[in-house]
């Protein structure tokens, strides 16, 4: 009776001998045959990661990326059967991957790429029209009472590095030579129809939206944002809610 646990252990560690109960019809060493499975697993997963993290790949080159991805899949094989989500732990792995220490922004760029994937596949939900949102905004009583429900595809990212500029440069939107990676940036990611959007937002807007996400009322979130930074552009942050399909509901808190 084969032990599938031992089979898996040997699959993921090429230094281990192949399982002892394998045979070949011609009596040959079964190791090259077992290696087909070892190779299938690594190559298919590394190929998937290369496709899902193209900017991360470009920042370090294909050879380095694939070696890093191979280390990731062998040390942390997927805990999901959905290939789209195998990269969920990848950014954290990159952050602790010693050979990437000289590229300190790499992990957060990978995080941005993974966030875009999550936004792409998030559940569908109807969003409020800007008219409906404006009606609530125009009523001071409502502002003090309502909390905002966000579309499942809405994500907020903050980094000490210029992750948005680095990503945008790889889309051809700006010259990478002009990017200083050590400037903090904040990004709003969401799905608009079928397309994922990534917008750079201010630190103030990031704080405002984060507070709304955590259940603050509009008044509370706005008040806290202005307390943090008197120059916080509240109308600009509100405009994000009006301009993009981010909000699925505005309900008074119980």
């Amino acid at each position: 009776m084969t032990d599938q646990g031992a089979f898996v252990s040997a699959l993921l560690d090429p230094h281990q001998a192949c399982p002892a109960d394998l045979r070949s019809w011609n009596g040959s060493d079964p190791t090259p045959r077992f290696a087909v499975h070892r190779n299938n697993i690594v190559v298919s997963l590394v190929d998937a990661l290369a496709e899902q993290f193209p900017v991360t790949l470009e920042l370090v080159g294909a050879e380095f990326f694939r070696a890093m991805a191979q280390a990731f899949v062998q040390q942390h094989p997927p805990r999901t059967r959905i290939i789209a989500f195998i990269g969920a732990p990848f950014a954290d792995f990159i952050a602790s991957f010693a050979p990437a220490a000289s590229v300190p922004y790499l992990a957060d760029v990978a995080r941005l790429e993974m966030t875009r994937i999550e936004a792409c596949h998030a559940a569908d939900a109807d969003t409020l029209t800007s008219d409906a949102i404006e009606r609530v905004m125009a009523d001071p009583q409502q502002l003090a009472l309502v909390a905002v429900m966000f579309h499942p595809s809405v994500y907020l990212l903050s980094s000490p590095h210029a992750i948005f500029s680095l990503w945008a440069a790889h889309q051809g939107a700006l010259d990478i030579a002009d990017v200083d990676p050590d400037i903090a940036q904040h990004v709003l990611v969401f799905r608009d129809g079928l397309d994922v959007q990534a917008l750079q937002i201010t630190f103030g807007a990031y704080g405002f939206l984060t507070r709304l996400r955590s259940g603050d009322t509009l008044a509370e979130a706005a008040g806290a944002a202005v307390d943090t930074d008197a120059s916080f552009d509240l109308p600009g942050a509100i405009a994000l809610l009006l301009r993009h399909p981010l909000v699925t509901g505005m309900e008074p808190l119980p």
């Binding site: 084969t2 599938q4 109960d21 070949s24 045959r33 499975h37 059967r81 559940a123 499942p152 079928l194």
Partner: protein
């Protein structure tokens, strides 16, 4: 659908815009690739049906579901699972089974199939179809799992014969006998992967036609055709890799013709997952299979005019 109508009156789409059938048409379909989606919807090519990997659509929402829904309006769909891990030495993952049930409910595919293989252990997913020994305990486990799947999904599933590279010392029966027993005990159907029969026959030094004839051919609900890559084993003997990355080899077309002579026309899928060419080339290859299906039906009608297998071909 365009082209020759391969369906009986009872199986024609119920309404315009609903290509729903409980059986795949006796034609060749192709795997639906993301890179071909827009073209499929713009051009509406004459493919018999489309097949997708179930797991790719186990995401909560977004464009994948939008596009698959649009394709489903115009074509029958075959849902092919890769990660249910029916051969695992563990219980089936109930969450995964529920996700499958949800997908089948949403898309009403004409066919659902999975593999005689395992791919998970202790919550880890290996993204490959791993082999199992063909012995009594494995047979019982596989039958129990197939029973569980068919009960939960409330439909018959097709089980695909695998491409294998290793054998196990503990096996007590050959693969065809094992599959025969699973089909007999559970009532599931066979997804006959002709390329896998060929690849495994080369990899284990046995006769492909004899192996094919040992399978439960009267239970075939779909045929898969795919390409392989060539390597060698530790003794320099040929080792074929089922990588779905090449056109169908001549020896596999031969084996397909041989299979059809026993099964009659069967819904056939052309699998191409790697090095994917333009859609037009895949469809041209599919037309080759359509011609063989047509010839098979014609030959059957000539020799067995009352055979039910050709009434609808």
């Amino acid at each position: 659908m365009h082209g020759s109508d391969a369906s009986t009156a009872a199986e024609r789409p119920q309404a315009s815009g609903d290509a729903g059938m409980r059986r795949l048409p006796l034609r060749c379909g192709v795997g639906l690739k993301a890179s071909h989606l827009q073209q499929v919807l713009d051009e509406r090519p004459d493919a018999g049906f489309f097949e997708v990997h179930a797991e790719n659509f186990m995401v909560p929402g977004g464009p994948l579901h939008h596009w698959l829904g649009r394709v489903r309006e115009h074509y029958p769909l075959s849902l092919h699972g890769v990660a249910l891990s029916i051969g695992a030495d563990a219980d089936l993952d109930l969450e995964h089974l529920e996700r499958l049930a949800l997908l089948l409910d949403r898309y009403q595919p004409a066919s659902f199939s999975e593999h005689l293989a395992w791919s998970t252990h202790g919550g880890t997913y290996l993204n490959d179809l791993l082999p199992l020994p063909y012995d009594r305990p494995c047979l019982q486990r596989v039958c129990d799992h197939v029973d569980q799947v068919q009960t939960r999904l409330r439909r018959r599933m097709l089980l695909e014969n695998p491409a294998t590279y290793v054998r196990f010392a503990s096996s007590t029966m050959d693969e065809a006998a094992f599959i025969h027993e699973v089909v007999r005990r559970t009532g599931c159907g066979l997804l006959l992967d002709v390329n896998n029969v060929y690849v495994s026959s080369i990899n284990h030094g046995y006769d492909a036609r004899a192996a094919l004839q040992g399978l439960p051919l009267d239970a075939v609900g779909e045929i898969h055709l795919a390409g392989f890559a060539s390597q060698t084993d530790g003794a320099g003997a040929p080792l074929l890799i089922d990588n779905h990355g090449a056109p169908i080899a001549p020896a596999v077309w031969d084996l397909y013709r041989f299979a059809l002579a026993s099964t009659g026309p069967v819904a056939t899928l052309l699998e191409r997952d790697n090095d994917v060419p333009p859609l037009a080339l895949l469809l041209a290859e599919a037309r080759q299979a359509d011609r063989l299906l047509h010839d098979c039906a014609k030959a059957l009608r000539a020799s067995h005019p009352d055979d039910a297998r050709v009434a609808s071909a």
